[in-house]
Symmetry: C2
Subunit: 153 residues, 2 copies
DNA sequence: CATATTTAAGACTCTTTTGTCTGAAATTAT
DNA sequence: ATAATTTCAGACAAAAGAGTCTTAAATATG
């Protein structure tokens, strides 16, 4: 798919943390249980985000992860870039290495437009804004189906 | 990326064959050399396309592969579906299994629109039409850079 | 200090993707 | 017939992605 599994997990975890406004640090164990993601795998992914200075972490009781800066200033784009790298928004859809306006592949022009829409989709709303929408509109970030209001406990 | 390597190779090979209008069968060896793709790997990929009844093949001298039906009736979409399956155009961008209009993820609505544009990009032009454009406008289907007119010999 | 909690780090396994290689089968040409 | 050409089939290997597990380090609490 367009994003790796790890990236999907990272995004969902970040959105979960963003919905926990008032709390300082959210334990990875809790995130993994709520979103039903392997704890150890999620730990590795969140370490990438802390190493990228998007999140901070704190060990010991009451520890966990939190955003390193205001979640109004972080977008999904930041998370995608940290986990999957810039590939999606740079590479030729046919895998040609020098594809560009000068030496375009047959899909280059249209793909560049769509890629730009994807970029907009991923960076037009901050995590804080998305968290609000998730709660107001009952959007899902977990596979659990049911009362939207219980999706995030 | 959005398409697998194998799918990129399959698309480029199909476009190359489409540019060879008058010829009956195009040898895989020739395609692999022109497009600089591993011969054996490309063979396997083209076998997928013949098994999907998009192409036919013929063994022996003067053998090779050709389209099983009029290339005016085949699109990149057909090739993508055969090699990568329907995943891209069906799955949730966050990997949620039941994501849809009833239980949407935060990106569902916008992603559905963009996915539709991708679908259009891949099926709005037939292989025959694309081959014409490749030749008229000098579009590239190989990594080789240089005189566009020599891209496809 | 001792213990419990929680992230950090890294080794390890499993699966999928990508790619290589060999031999068989079909076809043509000599 | 024999040899050359070309796809077919499948084993095999290498690399990347996904996921598991163990141990260490940091922090809090009693």
């Amino acid at each position: 798919m367009i994003l790796s599994n790890a990236c999907d997990y990272g995004i969902r975890a970040a959105l979960y943390v963003a919905t926990q406004r008032d709390r300082k640090f959210v334990p990875i164990r809790e995130i993994s249980e709520k979103l039903q993601i392997s704890f150890h795998f999620l730990t590795k992914i969140l370490q990438i985000l802390t190493q990228a200075n998007l999140m901070t972490s704190f060990r010991g009781p009451n520890g966990g992860v939190a955003f390193a800066r205001d979640p109004n200033q972080i977008t999904l784009m930041d998370i995608i870039q940290a986990i999957d790298g810039p590939g999606i928004f740079e590479k030729c859809v046919l895998g040609l290495s020098e594809c560009g306006d000068e030496h375009p592949c047959p899909l280059h022009e249209r793909w560049a437009e769509i890629r730009e829409e994807l970029r907009q989709m991923f960076q037009s709303n901050s995590l804080a804004r998305m968290a609000t929408k998730i709660q107001q509109k009952g959007f899902r970030i977990t596979d659990y189906l049911g009362n939207p209001n219980s999706t995030i406990h």
